[in-house]
């Protein structure tokens, strides 16, 4: 017994005497000492924290296979195997390149995200912008790079047509993303901003992952699985909706049904159109989210809608003659996507989307029926080698089929099927946290015109200060000619655009300043004398768009006030379609300006917003003039207000009025097809059907979670 006690004492003292000291200095890359670094022996409590001089010192009992870990917030963890005698050691830590400290490639893109504090916009900003009516394109139209085209409500980017902007949801293409509307009434996106947790709006120079868009890509990322149950009811002057979200084990399911009918609204607000049937629609949405394994997420989304309207349209030359016109649309969009991590470094994303859209439009006895079927399938691998190097590779297949039936005196049937295969690779490299380079290639094969192509994309960014950076981008982009062209001439060449962009951005403490200059060159645009005369088709049209854009946002200077100011200057001309030379097209305006303000007023428990938008004159073709596109519309002005009043925690009352001043905006003129007896073509101004749009709604949330209401949804 005595022996064993002695032995124990001996062993214990041996252990005590086996303690040895590890000490040293921790520095950053530039040799400056680092404070607060955790230095310790792996698997033990033995360690210390570096002091102001970067020094540390501690004792450890472990002697064999000693692994030292050096770890600090914002730096890459170092693991050092210590062998034999070690006196003092010096460790240099490299700063981790993260979203928070690194340069980001911003040329050409505006990002909205809840997660990244440095983004210019939040998803909520989209919903609360006055004048935008909680419509994504409506809100993006207050950003630089867009031109107001009031009669369509679509995104027109940097002198491009509306069709040159493509929308992607979770990476998958959407066809016909706008709801049909009455003539000259701005259409809305079919997709509510509340569905999304992030948006990236590129006005040029975007990633090789996206194609078939000459000007712009709007990439929307839908929300992840919901974590609480809720049911929402909305009663609006234009209809009602009900939605519910239920959590599932490892997932959630959400459904929404919306009914819109403008008949009662038109009773109160006089319209300068004669309605037979005011716009009426049913919309249904279902979203399922299911987590699989540790990192997998499956998203299913379906949107179904049916809408119709009927008006009496006056003849331009003889306004007393009213012709019945109808528009109806049935629409389905299905999107399934899945992503997961395969290992520490590899992740995959895959998805498929289907769109069917069946349009019918008639004017008197003539009618046009068009059925569109679109699909898109994609597989992408994401490889994250380190914080400095990442690679994205993938392939995709896009198809669309358009069937038309035109009925005038005779009936015509036309049909075109287009398939495009593409593969892409893009690598992103950070030389340091201050210099980033992104370079990609996109190869495409179009089965319709048998065109094979490879387009480069390059972007770089350099951090010029703690809060400022410059960024440049170059890329070549292509897109199939417009539907009306390819349905006449399936072998039509693809249209091309080359973008050059330079950007400076300064973001600090709630203030953002951006200036961006760009040049975009179009080539191979379709030209014709008569769109129905296929023999007259040529693909030699070209053009340019160049401009300077400014953006300023300030959330800091005035308490509870958030505002942004955008200005875009655009110089563009193109020779295409039936243009006799280079002209500024009717959808382009040289100067666009917006001021968006939002303020929360505590006393009123309300958020109020005011937006002013301006667009300078647009061209139109004056048929009574010899010169082409010689007409100039008046400038466009709009002053819109909105207010969201928190009646209680879960009841919100929202009101808004667009064009509060009732300014008579003219978007262009339509001309009679034949001259009158004096040889003059009669004309009619293209104007909104009512000067103001007024909206009132009550939004009620039913949830056990009292913190949830629909304000984020407004």
């Amino acid at each position: 017994m005595k022996n064993s006690f002695t032995l124990t004492c001996f062993l214990l003292s041996l252990m005590a005497s086996a303690q040895f000291t590890i000490s040293g200095t921790i520095l950053d890359e530039s040799g400056e000492p680092l404070l607060g670094v955790n230095v310790y022996v792996e698997g033990t409590y033995d360690g210390a924290t570096s002091d102001l001089e970067g020094h540390f010192s501690f004792e450890t009992a472990q002697t064999d296979d000693l692994v030292l870990i050096v770890s600090s917030i914002g730096f890459i963890k170092e693991t050092i195997a210590l062998t034999g005698s070690t006196d003092t050691i010096e460790v240099k830590l490299r700063e981790e390149i993260s979203q928070l400290n690194s340069v980001i490639i911003t040329a050409g893109s505006f990002n909205a995200s809840e997660e990244n504090q440095r983004e210019v916009l939040r998803p909520l900003d989209i919903a609360t912008t006055a004048g935008a009516t909680a419509d994504i394109p409506g809100a993006l139209n207050t950003l630089p790079g867009t031109q107001r085209v009031g009669e369509t409500g679509r995104l027109f980017v940097r002198g491009g047509e509306g069709r040159e902007t493509k929308t992607f949801i979770d990476g998958m293409l959407v066809h016909e993303e706008y709801s049909p509307t009455a003539p000259n009434t701005p259409s809305r996106s079919r997709f509510s901003p509340f569905m999304f947790k992030g948006a990236s709006f590129s006005t040029g120079g975007y990633s090789a992952e996206f194609g078939q868009a000459l000007s712009s890509a709007l990439v929307l990322e839908s929300k992840e699985a919901a974590e609480s149950n809720r049911t929402d009811l909305s009663f609006m002057t234009v209809g009602a909706d009900v939605s519910t979200t239920q959590t599932l084990p490892n997932g959630s399911v959400a459904a929404k049904v919306q009914y819109t009918n403008l008949t009662p609204y038109f009773e109160f607000i006089p319209q300068n159109l004669q309605w037979d049937t005011a716009p009426t629609s049913w919309d249904g949405n279902i979203a399922v989210r299911q987590k699989t394994g540790k990192t997998g997420l499956l998203k299913l989304y379906a949107n179904l809608s049916t809408s119709s309207l009927a008006i009496r349209e006056a003849s331009i030359s003889e306004p007393e003659i009213l012709l019945p016109a109808t528009v109806s649309n049935d629409y389905t969009y299905l999107n399934a996507s899945y992503r997961t991590l395969l290992s520490d470094k590899w992740g995959i994303r895959t998805g498929t989307s289907f769109t069917t859209s069946s349009d019918f439009a008639s004017l008197d006895k003539a009618s046009r029926k068009q059925d569109l079927l679109g699909f898109h399938s994609k597989l992408v691998g994401d490889y994250q080698h380190s914080d400095r190097f990442a690679l994205v590779v993938g392939g995709e297949l896009m198809g669309r089929s358009i069937k038309q039936r035109l009925q005038e005196q005779e009936t015509y049937h036309r049909k075109v099927d287009e398939y495009t295969g593409a593969s892409f690779a893009e690598l992103e490299f950070y030389f340091s946290k201050d210099i980033a380079l992104k370079t990609g290639l996109r190869g495409e094969y179009n089965a319709l015109n048998e065109e094979m192509s490879v387009d480069p994309r390059i972007a770089a960014a350099y951090k010029t200060g703690t809060h400022s950076q410059v960024s440049i981008a170059y890329g070549r982009f292509r897109q199939s000619a417009s539907d009306e062209v390819i349905i006449n001439a399936p072998s039509a060449e693809q249209e091309k655009a080359t973008h050059y962009i330079a950007n400076y951005q300064h973001v600090a403490d709630g203030q953002t300043f951006r200036i961006e200059a760009y040049e975009k060159r179009y080539s191979d645009l379709a030209q014709f004398q008569d769109i129905n005369n296929t023999a007259s088709y040529q693909y030699r049209g070209d053009g340019h768009a160049r401009g300077i854009e400014l953006f300023w946002r300030d959330r800091k200077s005035i308490k509870n006030l958030d505002y942004w100011v955008s200005y875009s200057f655009l110089d563009t001309e193109r020779t295409y379609r039936n243009y006799p030379g280079a002209y500024t097209p009717p959808f382009a305006s040289s100067h666009n300006f917006s001021v968006v303000t939002k303020k929360f007023i505590d006393q009123l428990k309300s958020q109020v917003g005011v937006t002013y938008s301006f667009a300078s004159a647009r061209t139109y073709n004056d048929r009574n003039s010899e010169r082409f596109l010689s007409g100039r519309t008046p400038a466009y002005h709009d002053l819109s207000f909105n207010i969201s009043y928190l009646y209680s925690n879960q009841i919100i009352i929202h009101a808004m009025v667009n064009n509060a001043l009732g300014i008579n905006n003219v978007f262009g003129y339509e001309y009679a097809s034949e001259p009158d007896t004096n040889g003059v073509f009669a004309r009619r101004a293209i104007t909104p059907p009512a000067k103001r749009f007024i909206f009132l709604g009550i939004f009620i949330t039913l949830s056990k979670n009292k913190g949830i209401n629909q304000l984020p949804n407004l």
């Binding site: 022996n3 360690g47 928070l100 909520l124 929360f600 984020p712």
Partner: protein, 214 residues
Amino acid sequence: MKRSILVLFSVAIAFGTIANGQFEKAMGASIPAIFSSQSAEDLQEVINRLSRIGESEKTRWEPYYYTSYGYIKMSGFYKSQEDKDKYLELAISEAEKGLAVDGGNSELVSLKGYAYMMQLTIDPGTRGMTYSGLAFEQLNKAVALNPQNPRAHYLLGRMQHGTAQFMGGGDGGACKSLATAKNLFENAASPKNPFAPSWGEETTNSAIADLCGN
């Protein structure tokens, strides 16, 4: 032979108690230091100590509780929004490390809710709605996971108070939650786990005095 077995046995016991005692000793020294440290440097040193313990003890959630709590406290030492967010996000990720050890732990879920609540207070005007949803979600969940957790009720009470102030009128159930917390603190049996969190009684009482006085 017998003797040598005995010797080995006693050595094993000696080792065992050292190994066990080590956790108790280290935690016992570090937990009060989290509460008493008065500067970012001191606090980081204690957090570092606790994260070493957390990494060594794969089955203990408590070290992560205190590193998470420490980062919430740390965010208070900084002025800029970016710094505050950085530490509050670290607080959330530390709480999640703890939840990876003990999934349904009401204390850790409360801390996540606490961190969201602090993120909300950085910029209530723009963050109000998103973050109040996140904070309530976690705090309600914490109460549901363990209705006997006084800290969950206390934090929920603070959140309810803040929201009610924002909405104007009423207390949003804050005083009821605080009273529940007070009651639970007063009647709490001495904890089985000496390292489980025990803070909050004083702050609850002073919150009641400030907000629920007649």
